[in-house]
């Protein structure tokens, strides 16, 4: 599978080359937006967590009640395909760029951008419409003002592999 091989490469390829390869892949995905499998594949936790920096959030996600969702059920617009693809492309290029050429600018702790928070909140609402129809649920700015731990804040501040090992990269 394309994705599997890509994932291998994430780990051992030269950064600059990786960036352009992935950029190409992404453009490919956008061009072939109709390919359901590609969209789906790049939505999953497995895909997102192929980047090391996604490790902690993935860990927390897998232990949350939402573990059976895909990341992009929350993290990309779900209202229509065009919006979704545009957001994914922008975010995807950003992430890949940052993970390769722009690595020195990666923040020490990731935080959702305001745009992300808006998108996510919209997705909470669309899935949980029934609950919030039933009782006015919008007294705070966003759902996560109360549901602070959905799904990344389950007290998991470091990935489990971090808890096990000294970081060899750091060590050398």
């Amino acid at each position: 599978m394309l994705m599997k091989r890509l994932k291998e490469r994430f780990k051992d390829m030269n950064n600059k080359l990786l960036f352009f390869v992935l950029l190409g892949v992404l453009i490919g995905i956008i061009v072939y937006a109709g390919t359901v499998t590609a969209i789906k594949a790049t939505d999953t936790g497995e895909f997102c967590s192929s980047c090391h920096v996604m490790g902690t959030v993935y860990e927390a996600f897998t232990q949350s009640p939402h573990a059976r969702l895909d990341c992009n059920d929350c993290h990309a617009p779900t209202d229509n395909v065009v919006n979704k693809m545009a957001f994914k492309a922008r975010a995807g290029i950003g992430h890949i760029y940052m993970n390769t050429i722009g690595a020195s600018q990666i923040p020490d702790v990731l935080h959702a951008t305001d745009d992300s928070v808006d998108v996510i909140n919209q997705n909470c609402i669309s899935c949980h419409q029934y609950t919030i129809d039933n009782v006015a649920h919008d007294s705070k700015g966003t759902c996560i003002d109360c549901h602070r731990h959905v799904p990344h804040g389950l007290g998991i501040f470091k990935t489990s592999d971090w808890h096990l090992k000294l970081n060899i990269d750091a060590a050398k």
Binding site: N134, V135, D138, R148, H149
Partner: protein, 453 residues
């Protein structure tokens, strides 16, 4: 049907002036059902004067109706019943005492206008309240539950929007520069409670219920208000203390005030977030709980919505820790303040100079304020652990200042301090050992410590 509170479209067929709780039952059956839980086990309230709670309160309140009866709380539907039967109500009690008890207050205010506040409680207010209560009674809510604190106190009966019905809050916030009509929904989820769960006093002109917040809501800021603005406007004190003769400010349930600068208040966690969490009733339907009680009964829905990384056990233990440390400090501050009152009493009987007595009384006034405002707060410190402890520290300091001054003056007068201390122990014993809570206060003064009021 959409129950969003933001829309101002009519949602019910009720009259805009509806004030009877049972009238809301048909439109909101599951809210009404939730409200019924406030009836609890139906047992009467318990005196706070028993040794397990705060045994020396009859001394601290000596000279004020509070010395006679002061109980643990019950659910909102009991508020009218409890205010009617409390021994604190006397022949000169006023309408203002109904303000935080009954949903008839809105119609009463409309009818009486500004005369409501100082109208005679038993002579004018209760009879009219009973007339208004002639409709809508229901066995499940007891004699007065249908007109006790209820739907119309917090909701517009037509739109069900949250609303403020007590002008005291609107007025107090306005004096802080806050326009309550501009409040966000999150703020309203606190303000509805802040209509009642606040420190208050009766301003002397019309005896309106007022909140002392011009300089802020911290105890020291409220004291500053009482020492300046309130005095300028003619309010000096609530009572002259029977033991020390000090001009005392009675402090009442400052839940809102302590919350406002505590960990959760600063984080904008509202009263309703903890005390009215969403609950599932009637299968799948969710509502805001209308059973106002300790959130420790509902940790899952209340605390763990936000603190889902913590276990129920952990949260109970944390609250327990905070409250235990807090209560120990409350009791120590109360002991010191009691002592201060008697030292000042002895200054008077021994003939200390007037200016020294006045100075000592001023310290006692301060010490009692800081002690009482924290003892009267109902979360046992949880709403604001650091702030409450800071206030108790100030309480000790002020009461100690009174005692220090007294020791100095009494020594100059060759008063036997050993005897004084023994007599204080005797008084405390007598109050503690008296079985009848209504009689406890009679032991606060005696031949050795004659009444000063």
């Amino acid at each position: 049907e959409d129950l969003t509170v933001d829309e101002t479209e009519p949602l019910t067929d009720l009259s805009p002036d509806e004030y009877v709780n049972t009238a809301f039952k048909d439109a909101f059956p599951i809210h009404y059902e939730s409200y019924l839980r406030n009836m609890g086990n139906g047992r009467p309230p318990v005196s706070k004067f028993i040794p397990d709670y705060e045994p020396y309160l009859p001394i601290l309140f000596a000279g004020f109706p509070f010395e006679q009866e002061y109980n643990t709380t019950r659910g909102h539907p009991y508020a009218v019943e409890d205010v009617l039967s409390i021994a604190r109500i006397g022949d000169r009690s006023i309408g203002s005492c109904m303000t935080c008890k009954s949903s008839t207050v809105t119609p009463l205010l409309k009818e009486f206008g500004d005369d409501y506040w100082s109208a005679n409680f038993r002579g004018d207010i209760v009879p009219r309240m009973e007339e208004l209560a002639a409709v809508g009674a229901s066995e499940e809510l007891g004699e007065f539950g249908h007109v006790s604190i209820g739907c119309s106190d917090c909701h517009d009966p037509v739109t069900m929007e949250l609303r403020i019905t007590r002008p005291s809050l609107t007025h107090a916030l306005a004096r802080q520069g806050i326009d309550v009509t501009e409040a966000t929904r999150n703020e309203m989820r606190t303000y509805v409670c802040a209509q009642c769960h606040v420190e208050y006093y009766f301003e002397p002109e019309l005896e309106k219920v007022r909140f002392p917040w011009d300089y802020g809501t911290k105890p020291e800021e409220m004291l500053h208000y009482f020492e300046t603005t309130a005095i300028e406007e003619g309010f000096d004190y609530d009572y002259i203390h029977a033991v020390s003769g000090a001009p005392i400010l009675k402090a009442q349930h400052p839940e809102y005030e302590m919350w406002s600068y505590g960990s959760h208040g600063r984080a904008e966690v509202s009263c309703a977030d903890c005390h009215m969490p969403f609950e599932r009733r009637d299968d799948r339907r969710k509502i805001s709980s209308h059973f106002w009680a300790s959130p420790l009964e509902n940790i899952e829905t209340s605390c763990r919505t936000c603190h889902s990384d913590k276990t129920e056990r952990y949260l109970i233990d944390r609250v327990g820790d905070i409250q235990e440390r807090h209560l120990e400090a409350v009791h120590e501050a109360q002991d010191l303040t009691v002592e201060a009152h008697y030292f000042v009493n002895r200054m008077i009987t021994a003939g200390a100079p007037d200016d020294k007595i006045e100075q000592a009384q001023q310290y006692v006034r301060e010490g009692q304020w800081y002690t009482d405002i924290i003892a009267a707060e109902n979360s046992d410190g949880f709403h604001n652990p650091q702030g409450s402890m800071d206030t108790l520290r100030m309480a000790s300091d002020a009461s100690n200042n009174a005692i220090k001054l007294a020791i100095e003056e009494l020594s100059n007068l060759n008063v036997d301090l050993g005897e004084l201390r023994t007599e204080i122990e005797n008084v405390k014993e007598a109050v503690l050992n008296e079985e009848d809570p209504f009689e406890k206060h009679t032991h606060a003064t005696n031949n050795f410590f004659p009444a000063q009021n």
